[in-house]
């Protein structure tokens, strides 16, 4: 497959894309309406799901709630293996299966629902950049804490990850996943980081988000966007998950603005 030949709307260099008219959006919504039985799959909530997966799942749920699309959450022990990309959460809509927040946002947009239509080009670029920042820093830090910090791994992660499986499968799968995550950390240059450096990065990321949020209710205008959903998912999980070391959640309390924001976010999920 020649990468150069793939034509994609974003591959043309013209900076402005025309905003969709209301008729086009209505047309899309009419031809492929959002079904009532759309489901979101994740791992078992109480015993199996880990910090990073919980954050991602919550982000998707928040996003769908913000779009006012009904979704049912189903917990399955093998959700990770059912997913087309190996990552949770994934949604099953009609006869399509889409996983991860990025593709889900695009899928939902193709159905005619979008939260970021009102943004201009520069704001859209900023939104994408901040989403990458959250993925790059917060998500990777969560993964690091779960899988590379020996204390957490021993006490929490191993037992949770292998929960549904009999011995010795639970140990084997947990070790395999840990090896995979460690390999990824090494490839992106996080392999040599100590826990303190990781927490410093998290701190920097939170400062940046706090600066960007300022005193507004949401990141852009008065309406929530997918960035708000993503940040909410991660913040909520970090603040409410009990780990062996409370250092991660200790980074958060100083940010008053983010706490208010997180309260707003909880309303969306009727928590």
């Amino acid at each position: 497959m020649d990468p150069g030949r793939v034509s994609h709307p974003m591959s043309s260099p013209s900076p402005c894309s025309k905003a969709e008219t209301d008729e086009e959006i209505a047309f899309r919504r009419a031809t492929e309406p959002w079904p009532e039985d759309a489901t979101l799959y994740q791992q078992l909530k109480g015993e199996q799901i880990l910090l990073s997966d919980n954050a991602s799942s919550l982000a998707v749920q928040a996003f769908l709630q913000m779009c006012e699309l009904p979704i049912k959450v189903v917990c399955r022990a093998n959700a990770e293996y059912m997913s087309p990309s190996g990552k949770v959460p994934f949604i099953h809509v009609g006869n399509q299966v889409v996983s991860e927040l990025g593709p889900i946002v695009q899928f939902v947009k193709a159905k005619g629902h979008s939260l970021s239509d009102g943004l201009d080009e520069v704001q859209k670029a900023e939104m994408k950049a901040y989403m990458e920042l959250v993925n790059n820093m917060l998500l990777t830090a969560e993964l690091y804490l779960q899988w590379c910090d020996e204390a957490t791994v021993g006490e929490i992660t191993h037992s949770r990850y292998g929960f549904p499986y009999p011995w010795p499968l639970n140990h084997i799968l947990a070790y395999q996943k840990q090896w995979e995550v460690k390999r990824k950390m090494k490839a992106i240059g996080w392999g040599n980081k100590t826990l303190d450096q990781v927490l410093e990065d998290v701190d920097q990321c939170c400062q940046a988000l706090s600066q960007r949020l300022g005193t507004q209710p949401y990141f852009f205008n008065k309406q929530p966007t997918e960035l708000d959903a993503l940040v909410f998912g991660h913040l909520f999980t970090i603040l409410t998950t009990q780990l062996t070391s409370d250092e991660l959640s200790d980074k958060e309390p100083g940010e008053k603005r983010k706490t208010t924001y997180f309260v707003l976010g909880s309303e969306w999920l009727h928590l």
Binding site: P3, G4, L133, N136, I188
Partner: protein, 321 residues
């Protein structure tokens, strides 16, 4: 000249003179000599292929002031080890270019030591900044270190702009870096005709047979582990995706830059250094497979941005070659 008589000879070590120890075969590379650093006189040090730090120079005693620097307090000299330049760029390696650009923007006096095919110095994990006792290795850490030494290019930025910088750097690393790595190290035509010969010519034999391959493998690993899907990591599936992401990222950068000279007003900052470091090699290096380069060339403001930085900040090295 005094030093001629020392080369190849073995002398009793005396303070201020050179003790030359020949180790191993000297079949290639003009003779391999290993030197005791502590015994090298400051005047002769450059001839034997390394620089002394300021402390060592002062400790040499006899030659104090030879170079015209009297006593008095001086900032610790900063030495950067990085890959060399070509095609009009000061460095072909993205990360080295980021550090070089930032140093120019912030006015840090860096001594750049380019990796060449002698055996001195290390070439793993480049760029590396050495300053007295500190050795700092990745671009983010090097920039942090320079800021702590008061070489800060971002002092005019507001807190929100600082946050934007962090976000855009994350965007660059997620979306553009995989495509840059792919263009340089994985695309077969590019790798075998341009990248590998260029790097191999700057690495001494026999390391030149091993190191480029290892760097290529590391690039492939990075792309597959971050973009590929377990359990079977296949390159073909991700190639289309990473080029698409890269084009989108370039469009976003172009939108953000608009018509202004730099990303945040009229003075260059960290973000400009990063964008320059990633985009300039794509723009300038001549590759056989050029689809991403053509996309960059269509975004005229990014091209103008790179050319401006090259002509304003790297004018001296451009004149040389």
């Amino acid at each position: 000249m005094a030093d001629k008589s020392f080369v190849g000879g073995i002398r009793e070590p005396r303070q201020g003179l050179v003790r030359v120890i020949r180790r191993g075969r000297s079949g290639w590379g003009g003779g391999r000599v290993a030197l005791e650093r502590s015994e090298v006189s400051p005047k002769l040090a450059p001839h034997f292929g390394f620089r002394l730090s300021e402390a060592e120079r002062r400790g040499g005693g006899h030659f104090r002031g030879t170079r015209g620097r009297g006593g008095g307090k001086m900032a610790a000299p900063l030495e950067l080890r990085c890959w060399g330049g070509g095609w009009g760029l000061p460095s072909v390696h993205s990360e080295s270019l980021v550090v070089l650009a930032y140093a120019k923007f912030s006015g840090a006096p860096l001594k750049v030591s380019v990796i060449d095919n002698t055996w001195r110095g290390s070439r793993g994990d480049v760029p590396i900044l050495t300053s007295e006792d500190n050795i700092v290795s990745q671009p983010a850490k090097i920039l942090n270190f320079l800021r702590k030494q008061k070489y800060n290019a971002d002092y005019q930025l507001s807190a929100k702009q600082g946050a934007d910088t962090l976000a855009y750097i994350a965007l660059l690393e997620e979306k553009l870096l995989p495509a840059v790595l792919h263009t340089f190290w994985i695309e077969n035509d590019n790798y075998f005709t341009v990248t590998k010969p260029w790097f191999a010519s700057r690495i001494p034999f026999p390391l030149s047979l091993i190191l480029p391959g290892r760097m290529s493998k590391r690039a492939l690993n990075r792309i597959l582990l971050t973009k590929g899907e377990p359990p079977h990591y296949h390159l073909k599936e991700v190639e289309a995706q990473i080029y698409r992401d890269a084009k989108e990222c370039l469009n976003l950068l172009s939108n953000r830059l608009g018509t202004s000279q730099f990303f945040f007003g009229n003075t260059p900052t960290t973000l400009d250094a990063y964008v320059f470091g990633f985009v300039a090699p794509l723009y300038k290096v001549h590759f056989p497979k050029v689809q991403l380069q053509e996309h960059v060339k269509q975004l005229s403001n990014l091209c103008r941005f790179c050319d401006d930085i090259l002509s304003c900040y790297f004018r001296i090295s451009l004149a040389d070659g």
